[in-house]
């Protein structure tokens, strides 16, 4: 029964995209449609998550074809959880964007295409999460990437086009890798259904397995911004409009992480690349955070912390125990929420403070105490201060690492702890300079050498402060902050769900049996 709900997760946003496109002239109706669609998807995902727990993995054979022949949509706990979190975050950001559009009177965004594109992005995202075969996942990736190209270059200003070109070219290359990998997987196994691949791949020679495995990892690694291929992210995200950056930061990299989880657990289980992934995790953590510490622009700083924290998830995947997977899934949920929230707060800082560089911001605590509170909570959360969810996720990962007990695991734990501290350092510096420092102190020209050495955003145009308080934007951000705190308050149930999802994920036979069913 619950299986019938799965296609709706993809179909509703697609329908929403069509509707909002038709309603191009009527912004209010567009907003209504988008909100209703995302709410509906969130509800459906919630129901799915509950039902999948009782009835087992939901599988839909699209068009009634038997599994290895036709397309399957699969929703296990992990998929349902990812769809639920994404839908909620997309909804929060949508309301923020609407608030910004109303407050700006549409100066900065071509409104008529924002909603359809946003819906298409949601479609691709949800499709990638429930896709049961590699090619459908590829289509989901392409759909969401195509939408992201449009959102990133929204308005077509010079800076955005330049940032967009980098992003688009990198994404295209990752797509080519993905498609070639699919071709090779098909050539080697004669199927593209993930569960079917999982069955057949074990019979292949080791070197062929390794080749296919690596091809997929490269494709997904580029999307997830794992170290050697993460260079593109901090250059392209910060130039987009604030809500767009927030969505990209929270969700797009996590699709890559999700795909890596599927690759490592279902298609290529075992620990062939465990050490390799762990080294990547260390490098991702350290290189990312080193970049963050050197930035003066808050958006760029956050983009670097985003890259860096992907390392935690890769670490969890590399450990590959059920405990580690639980922590990874919990951390993914935490990171989607908190990173998105922080980017929304920066959007508010940009509007209310008139800049995003900490060298030109001061006195925000006195001027906007609410904004200060909204920044402070997720900042501590991201930095991993107890009792917030960032701390819980990291502790879970470190505990799993200690259980594994290899020297490399300890090195990664050390790198993770250092990253956590440096994240806190970077964010507290933002707090000290932008919020705590008085305006007089900034204007008196006192500059420490440490601050003046920071890298500014090359595209920073200065910006202007808008003194009107954008109520809807603040409300949307506040709700997101409350949500991120809720991850701590409800950590018990959420960790239970993560543990259940991890158990499913770590036991690929659940997934394979559900998909292939009687077809064998």
């Amino acid at each position: 029964m619950s299986a019938n709900l799965v296609p709706l997760v993809v179909g509703l946003p697609l329908l929403g995209a069509a509707l909002t496109l038709v309603l191009g002239r009527n912004t209010k109706l567009q907003v209504l449609v988008s909100t209703v669609v995302l709410t509906a998807v969130a509800v459906i995902a919630g129901v799915l998550l509950a039902r999948v727990g009782e009835e087992g993995t939901a599988v839909v054979r699209v068009g009634g074809w038997d599994t290895p022949i036709g397309i399957v949509l699969v929703a296990d706990r992990l998929s349902a959880l990812m769809v639920l979190v994404s839908a909620v975050v997309l909804l929060g950001v949508l309301i923020f964007a609407v608030g910004q559009g109303l407050a700006d009177e549409h100066r900065d965004t071509p409104v008529s295409i924002f909603h359809p594109t946003y819906m298409i992005l949601a479609t691709g995202l949800f499709n990638a999460f429930v896709a049961g075969d590699l090619f459908n996942m590829f289509v989901g990736f392409e759909v969401l990437l195509a939408a992201s190209y449009v959102l990133l270059t929204l308005g077509g200003t010079g800076a955005r086009i330049r940032a967009g070109v980098t992003y688009i070219i990198v994404s295209l290359i990752s797509s080519v890798f993905f498609l070639s990998a699919i071709a090779l997987v098909y050539g080697a196994t004669g199927t593209v259904t993930i569960a079917h691949i999982a069955e057949r791949v074990a019979d292949l020679p080791d070197d062929v397995q390794l080749l296919l495995h690596l091809m997929l990892l490269i494709a997904f690694g580029i999307k997830a911004a794992v170290f050697p291929v993460s260079f593109w992210l901090p250059d392209s995200y910060p130039t987009a409009p604030a809500p767009v950056t927030a969505v990209f930061a929270g969700l797009l990299t996590k699709v890559g992480v999700y795909a890596i989880i599927r690759t490592e657990t279902v298609m290529f289980p075992g620990d062939v690349l465990e050490d390799f992934l762990m080294v990547l995790a260390v490098l991702t953590l350290l290189v990312g955070i080193a970049g963050a510490v050197a930035q003066a622009d808050i958006k760029r700083l956050l983009s670097f912390t985003l890259v860096s924290h992907i390392g935690y998830m890769i670490f969890g995947i590399a450990i590959g125990t059920e405990q580690a997977m639980t922590a990874t899934i919990y951390y993914v949920v935490h990171h989607i929420t908190v990173q998105t929230t922080l980017f929304l707060v920066v959007g508010l800082i940009e509007r209310m403070g008139g800049a995003t560089s900490i060298t030109r911001l001061a006195g925000l605590l006195k001027a906007f105490p609410v904004l200060a509170l909204l920044f402070f909570i997720p900042a501590l959360n991201l930095g991993g201060i107890p009792p917030f969810s960032g701390f819980l996720g990291k502790v879970g990962l470190f505990a799993a690492g200690v259980d594994l007990g290899t020297p490399l695991a300890y090195v990664t734990i050390a790198a993770g702890a250092a990253t956590s501290l440096l994240t806190l350092y970077a964010l507290v510096r933002v707090w000290n300079l932008a919020f705590w420092r008085s305006r007089e102190e900034m204007e008196s020209g006192h500059q420490s050498r440490l601050v003046s050495a920071l890298a500014e955003d090359p595209d920073d145009s200065g910006g202007t402060s808008v003194r009107t308080t954008p109520r809807i934007m603040i409300a949307a951000t506040a709700v997101m902050v409350v949500l991120s705190v809720a991850l701590t308050v409800l950590a018990g149930p959420l960790l239970d769900i993560s543990a259940e999802a991890a158990r499913n994920v770590m036991d690929p036979s659940t997934y394979i049996d559900a998909v292939l069913g009687g077809a064998r």
């Binding site: 190209y149 086009i161 070109v165 688009i168 080519v176 070639s180 071709a183 098909y186 050539g187």
Partner: protein, 176 residues
């Protein structure tokens, strides 16, 4: 699995040429490279369907050995459509970047309606625009080619704007 050697060679050449062209800094070339690499990947998919020559569908009951696997063809079809969409978007992006560079060359105001919120920050955009087109090769042939390309674009897009066009852009915008 049998594969046609001609197709394998074609694929290899297209991959090589595509990657080579993509290494240039001009977006136009990157797009050409992307099209080549994309189609090389399609050929790779086609190769995976095994021996060429047979049809994918038969009316009377033939055995599976006599048929060509239709699935890779379906996958290629999807991939071609996706490639086409992305290529169209890239071309629009190139046009936009070129157009921004041209605005700088002419010092003209952008058209209304084509742009959203351009009024205030026009100078900043134009500065950025030439970075998009930053070129480091001093290759005379390349410049020649780019000029010809500029001319073609120019004619296609706005026949009236020819006289002031390409030379200016190439000095300030496209080539540096």
């Amino acid at each position: 699995m049998n594969a046609s050697l001609v197709l394998v060679l074609l694929m290899a050449v297209m991959y090589a040429a595509g990657v080579y062209v993509m290494l240039e800094r001009s977006i136009t070339r990157i797009v050409i490279g992307f099209v080549l690499v994309g189609n090389a990947t399609n050929i790779l998919l086609l190769l995976m369907s095994g021996r060429a020559g047979a049809a994918a569908f038969w009316q009377d009951g033939r055995s599976a050995e006599d048929m060509t696997d239709p699935l890779p063809q379906a996958l290629i079809l999807t991939a071609i459509v996706i490639n086409m969409g992305i290529t169209a978007f890239l071309l629009a992006l190139i046009y936009r970047a070129w157009w921004l560079a041209r605005t700088e060359a002419k010092g003209a105001q952008p058209d209304e309606g084509d742009v959203v919120d351009d009024g205030d920050d026009l100078p900043e955009q134009v500065e950025d625009a030439d970075i998009v087109f930053e070129e480091t090769t001093a290759d005379a042939d390349a410049i020649q080619e780019e000029q010809a390309e500029g001319e073609r674009d120019d004619t296609a897009a706005e026949p009236g704007a020819r006289a002031d066009g390409p030379a200016d852009i190439d000095q300030r915008g496209v080539q540096r």
